[in-house]
Symmetry: D2
């Protein structure tokens, strides 16, 4: 058991909730607070959860916050271009230094995800109340533990292949959409010393982050993305290793 709790920062764009009555009805406290509550409920005393939003100074991601975040979750959509490049660079560096990152739904087009992937992260979509069925294809994966097979989202925006991401290091979930598409809806990536998980459920007009199995998955993802002890090698530069260490070693 770690001595001090896992520090989680739930980042939310918080624009739809301000602008659209329909979204506010679903998430009266904002999507970020629904996600934060899911983590508090599921992780209990193992985690300390704070939120941060786009409209705050530095989008709520000051150096102090970043330095004290073990895992960050990121939901964004219409505000991707409003996120300052400097902040994106800092978040990327934190991931490469070991911070976990959970990228949610429409954040597939966020600057931070595109930076970490190196690809366009485009996909097919349709807002048409598709039924989504989420299947576990990696039964040994920590993120799948205790998750029902399958999970069902009664109505959701369709996200479909081809999803322009690098081949994931682990594909945990694949979704069926009633309109005929499939989607790699739960994907793990390792970048530098950090772990990244993309999880596609979470369109703003449906109460998906209140579904117990989705909340369970979010908790599993945060726990997985956290590393109690980080790789000790400094990867910020290229160290010159002198000759002879090998011969002199035990």
């Amino acid at each position: 058991m770690p001595d001090h709790p896992l520090q989680v920062t739930v980042w939310g764009e918080n624009l739809h909730e301000q602008r659209h009555e329909k979204v506010r009805t679903v998430y009266p406290e904002g999507m970020h607070n629904a996600i934060a509550d899911a983590l508090r409920d599921g992780l209990g005393s193992r985690a300390e959860v704070r939120t941060a939003t786009l409209d705050q100074p530095q989008h709520g991601l000051t150096d102090e916050v970043l330095d004290n975040t073990d895992v960050m979750t990121w939901w964004g959509h219409i505000g991707h271009q409003m996120v300052a490049d400097e902040i994106v660079s800092k978040v990327q560096q934190r991931v490469l230094e070991g911070m976990g990152l959970i990228v949610l739904h429409s954040a597939h087009l966020s600057k931070i995800f595109q930076r970490l992937m190196g690809t366009r992260c485009t996909l097919r979509w349709r807002e048409a109340d598709d039924k989504e069925v989420i299947w576990t294809v990696a039964p040994t994966h920590p993120i799948a533990q205790g998750v029902p097979q399958p999970m069902i989202i009664p109505r959701h925006e369709m996200y479909g292949e081809f999803f322009d991401i690098p081949v994931p290091d682990e594909v945990v979930f694949i979704s069926n959409f009633s309109g005929g598409e499939v989607f790699r809806s739960g994907c793990c990536f390792h970048r530098g010393k950090g772990r990244v998980f993309y999880f596609s459920p979470g369109h703003e007009t449906y109460p998906i982050y209140f579904q117990p199995e989705i909340r369970k998955t979010l908790c599993n993802a945060v726990a997985w993305a956290h590393q109690p002890e980080l790789f000790s090698v400094d990867t910020s530069q290229c160290p010159m290793t002198p000759t002879g260490w090998f011969e002199q070693s035990a």
Copy 2:
């Protein structure tokens, strides 16, 4: 261009065609001949295609045939247990020595596939005229080249996850079934010096191996599984490498 054509052996169990009128109606010449014709049509003079069936001596897989096969395709279902273990061992050895193997549909439970995978290769299924939509998720893969996005099979047996295989080295296709399931329907594996492709379309009561895009995929798969030049190292045993070669090398 290789000097001599790619030698393909299409192995078919050929039991349903003998026993079931419905299957004979769909495949009057047998499924193996439909597959062989697809390869002949698509690969032309690049390939020489022969067939072999369960009822032949040694199931048609004599040492001479095996030694002269670059790529084998395998369709089986109700006769898995009738395949002699000795023949299975020979086919496995040939794959490990570089022969390509295309495993089709219900052959997921064949002895040869289970041997090469090390797992149970079980899956969900349902015979209910599901529509199957096959999506390419590996756009750079040779097997996907020129294949439409998506391919549609109007009516098919459902095969669904969890499919108990090792994590594929490359997932080329993922299928949506209208009944709500998903399936990794095109999966590549590298075993020893050989390449293996599992492709799930092909239930015996539907004319799937006559669909042009399925035939195109079969041709791509055979071409991909063939290696004009094999890895030169003998992997049949563990060579003792004497000390000093390193110092003496250039």
Copy 3:
């Protein structure tokens, strides 16, 4: 924290120790007891560790032992062919049902490893007191946590590429040998519901399992291979999923 401790069974062939004075000098209590002590020291009350050996009835792997084992470690060399096929099948089934398996050193040619891999598992080798340097290449992997970069084994048998295994799901360690070879010395595989780790250090004539960093790695491996909660789907057969569940679901 799990309610009850992780049950570990350390399986040792225990032949070299009986037959060779040199090995007995290095491992007076047997290699299996050195490994078991390493796990007891490192995992403390988190684990209960028992041993089993080839000469026992059923090689010490009765149904009761197997059913009560969360993670098994396996060291064998000259006795591979003395292990009964029936026991190998039982161990394989247990892995596919979720038991972790740590395969050590010369057990690359064990029946259980070959069965799970589907390949020959051959490699190059040389007994010539090479120095081995083990480098972490997967910094986010739980097995690498807290392991020094690099680990050094002053004198060891060389194991070199090509190692005839399937592409590992995760390569954690790669070794440099002073004689010029490289080796994927720490490899993870997922098979069915179980996790498998191959770790190459541990030739019987060197006190490698007494090295603190090797012991640390063994503990990490056992902890990683254990899953507190297993995937709930029964993979022992192919379930027929009736039509309509999808439409009737929420």
Copy 4:
């Protein structure tokens, strides 16, 4: 056989050759010309090879050149920061649209490689005339076909792990350095519709690009990175797929 030859652009920084007598002695025509000659020799009429260098307008990478390049090779070192961001963006887009990219040696820190990887791409290094032995670990890979096991570079700069890249989609080669390090020296990545290969041999003070087996590997890599037919889906944006296509399809 493709109707028209594969168009290759060999990009070279061409600074060391201008500035350092030692490098000019090894590569009197410039490194880019040595690489171009290797490709012309090995690929013959299958390829048309041109070169481009940093000092040219737009670094020689005009839209016309880019639009007519199937595969690009990239060698850079001390001039990484002199490459215009706009050109890097164009090259990245071309890769995502299907152009192959071969990244050589010190170009691990090039802007284009870091952009495509999303990580720092740092590594250990030492200039000390290490002997490098390059081992094939992916015997079925097209880039390894006909390459000796092992390849030996008599004297080379050491590049060692941890190499801060995403987990490669395929690791083809791993190197042993006589000073004790290992390195994943041949790594494939799939990004968008394009194939990327990183190959570490090629320090400017050694005649490595004149070694026949290295030239063979370069030719294999270029041939592998080329796709005669590209994935037909437009990935430049997220297409909205209307409802009903599925029901209306055959």
